[in-house]
Symmetry: C2
Subunit: 359 residues, 2 copies
C-alpha cells in the first residue's frame, strides 16, 4: 500500500521553513510522501544539501504567501488565499494530497478546516485532540484549542469523537470519558461543565462509558481514556503540563550534575535516563489531529523540532492509511440519536440552566 | 514574641483527625500554638500516646459536629454552626485564636470567611493563592478555587492581592503580573480574560507591573511573580501540575530501579534525589491562604499529610506574626482608585464587551 501524501505547510512554525524541511526529509526517508508547500525558492535552498533528495518521495508545491501567528485566523484565510496553509487544504480538495499538516496558527487551521473541508455530519464544533501520557498509555484530551467558548452539547460530540479516536489509537473498545473539572462532586464545576455533566449522564452512548468529573489526577493515572473540556481550559492545561515537565527536567539535570558523586551516578543511569527523557519528550506524541472536519488535518506546536515534525508526519500518514476518517464518520452516525436527544434536552431546559446558575 | 495561635479544624481532611493531630503536634514542637478544634473525646484518644504533650503549646476546643467534603458549602455553614470549621472562625472572632487552618471543604472555608470574617475593604471576591515552584522561586497563582465564575474587575483585585502576597513572601518590590491564557497574543483568551487583560493594561498600579497574557511557560520559568485567573481554570491548572509531578516521579522511580546498573546509579544519586524529592513535594509549600477576608485563613489539600499540615501551621503562624493582614489592607487602600477606575470602565463599556464577544 502506498503511503498517504501529506501536504506540509512549510511556513507555519516558529522556525520555518528549516524545521519543516528537516522534518519532511526525515519522514520521507521513513516512506511518507510529503509535499512541501510554500515559497519554492526558499524551499529549494533549504533542500540544496540533501544528497538523497532525488530518491525521496518529496516534492514542492509553490505558495507565495504565508499566514503568521499574529494574523486573525478567519480574516487571514479569506485575505490570503495564496498562503501556504490554505493552499495545503486546496491540494487535498484537488486530490493531490491526502492530509494537511502545519505547525502554524492553530486558529487559522481551524478556519481552513471549516471553510475548505467543511464540518463532518453530526459535528457543530471541531476539536483539537492532545494525547497526554498517563501511567498506562495515553489519555486523549479535547478540545485543546479550537473553541475557546463552548456549549454543553459540544462536550457530547467531543466525547463521541474522542472515544472514536482512542479506539483508533488501539485503546479499549468502550473508552472511559470524563469532563475536566475542579472537583469530583456533582456540584463542582462551572455552569458549562455542570450542564455537560448532566447531558453526558442522561444520554448514554454504547461507544463510551461516561465516568463523571475528572480532576488532574484522572488525566494521568490511567483511569480515563478521554477527557472533554472547552478549548481554553484544555489549552491552559496542556501548556501547564508541558511547562511542569520542563521545570522538573531542569531540576533533574541540575541534581545529577551537582557534584562528582552525582555525576558518577548519572553515568550509570544514562540508559535509564534516555528512556525517561523519551517518555517526557512531548515531541514523540505532541502532534494533534483536528477532528470534526471532513478531511485529515494535523497540528504541531509552533516550536516543533524537526524530530517532532517528522514523527507528526508519520502519525498523519498512518491516520490516513488506517482509516481514521471513516471510523470517525461511522461513530458520529451511530451516535446521531444521542446527539439529537442531548440537543433537545439542552434546548428544552432553559429553566434548569437558570436554576443551575442560581444553585 | 509569642507565636500566633492557630485554630486547626481537626475534622477537615481526608485522614482526619489523625493527620491533623500529628501535624499539630509537630508544629507545636516547633513553637506554634495550636488549638485543635473538634470532638474532644476522639482528639484526646489521638493525643494519648504523645509523651511530651504537657509541655507543648497545644489545646483542644470541643466542637461536636463536622462539615464534610460532600456538604454544600453555604448551606453547611448555616446548618452546622457547631461544626469544627465554623467554630474555628468563632474562636478568632472571640480573640481566642489568631488564624484558622483547615484541610476540609474549601468552599465551606470561603463561606466561613465571608460570613464570619467579612470581606476586606476593596475586595469583591476573596481568592485562594497557590505557590507554584518556578525556576527561580515561586509564582503565586490566584484564584485556585474560591470563585468558579469571575468578572473582569475581580482580576484587578486578584492582581493587587497577589502582588501584596508576593512582596510579603520576600519577592521583588514591584511583582510582575500576568493573566492566565491560551496564548500570548491580545486576541487570545475568553471574553473574560480579554476584558481583564484590557482593564489591567488600562489601569496601571504602582504596586505591580502588568506584563500581559501568561501561558504555562510563564508560570514556571521565573518570568512572572503572580498569575491571575478564575478559580475554575486555576484549580484545574493546579491539579494538573500536581498530577504531572506524580506521573514523572513514578517514571523516575521506575527508571532508577529497572536493573542493577540503574540501582547502583541511584545509590550514588541518593542525596541528589533527596533534594529533588523535596523540590517536587508540594507538601513543603502546598498550603494556601484565603486572601480578601478580614482575618487569616489557610487551606490545606484534603489529602494533606501530617508533614504538610505541620508546615502549613508554621506558615500560617508566620503570616500572623509578620503582619500579612495589615500589608494586604494597606495595598488595597493604596489601590482603591485603580479598582474604582477599573470598575467604572467595566460598567461604562457594555458596547465594547459585546463587540469583544462578536470579535
Amino acid at each position: 500500500m502506498a503511503s498517504a501524501r501529506i501536504a506540509l505547510d512549510a511556513f507555519g512554525g516558529d522556525h520555518c521553513p528549516r524545521h519543516e524541511v528537516e522534518g519532511a526529509v526525515a519522514a520521507a526517508r521513513a516512506g511518507v510522501h510529503v509535499v512541501l508547500v510554500g515559497d519554492r525558492e526558499q524551499l529549494e535552498r533549504e533542500l540544496a544539501g540533501v544528497a538523497d533528495r532525488g530518491s525521496l518521495p518529496l516534492s514542492i508545491h509553490h505558495a507565495p504567501d504565508r499566514i503568521t501567528m499574529d494574523d486573525h485566523p478567519g480574516r487571514a484565510v479569506r485575505a490570503k488565499p495564496e498562503a501556504s496553509m490554505p493552499v495545503c487544504f486546496d491540494l487535498v480538495r484537488k486530490g493531490e494530497a491526502d492530509a494537511v499538516m502545519s505547525a502554524g496558527n492553530s486558529g487559522a487551521m481551524l478556519a481552513c478546516g471549516l471553510f475548505k473541508y467543511r464540518r463532518l455530519r453530526g459535528v457543530d464544533r471541531p476539536a483539537i485532540v492532545a494525547a497526554l501520557p498517563n501511567a498506562e498509555g495515553f489519555t486523549f484530551v479535547l478540545d485543546v484549542g479550537a473553541n475557546v467558548e463552548c456549549r454543553p452539547v459540544n462536550f457530547v460530540q467531543f466525547a463521541i469523537m474522542g472515544a472514536a479516536y482512542a479506539r483508533f489509537k488501539g485503546g479499549r473498545a468502550v473508552p472511559r470519558v470524563g469532563v475536566m473539572s475542579n472537583g469530583s462532586e456533582d456540584g463542582k464545576g462551572t455552569d458549562l461543565t455542570r450542564a455537560a455533566h448532566e447531558l453526558l449522564g442522561a444520554h448514554p452512548s454504547e461507544d463510551f462509558a461516561y465516568v463523571g468529573y475528572a480532576e488532574g489526577k484522572g488525566v494521568f493515572d490511567g483511569s480515563l481514556d478521554v477527557v472533554v473540556t472547552d478549548g481554553f481550559t484544555g489549552n491552559v492545561a496542556l501548556k501547564v503540563v508541558e511547562a511542569t515537565g520542563r521545570l522538573i527536567g531542569g531540576w533533574l539535570r541540575a541534581a545529577v550534575t551537582a557534584d562528582l558523586r552525582s555525576k558518577l551516578g548519572a553515568l550509570l543511569l544514562r540508559p535509564a535516563f534516555a528512556r525517561l527523557r523519551e517518555r517526557m519528550n512531548p515531541d514523540s506524541y505532541g502532534a494533534a489531529p483536528l477532528l470534526g472536519v471532513d478531511g485529515v488535518a494535523w497540528i504541531c506546536h509552533g516550536g516543533a523540532t524537526p524530530f517532532a515534525i517528522s514523527v507528526a508526519l508519520q502519525q498523519a500518514a498512518r491516520s490516513v492509511d488506517e482509516g481514521l476518517m471513516p471510523q470517525l464518520a461511522e461513530a458520529l452516525a451511530r451516535n446521531a440519536a444521542v446527539v439529537t436527544a442531548a440537543k433537545d434536552a439542552a434546548r428544552d431546559d432553559p429553566a434548569a440552566a437558570a436554576a443551575r446558575k442560581e444553585g
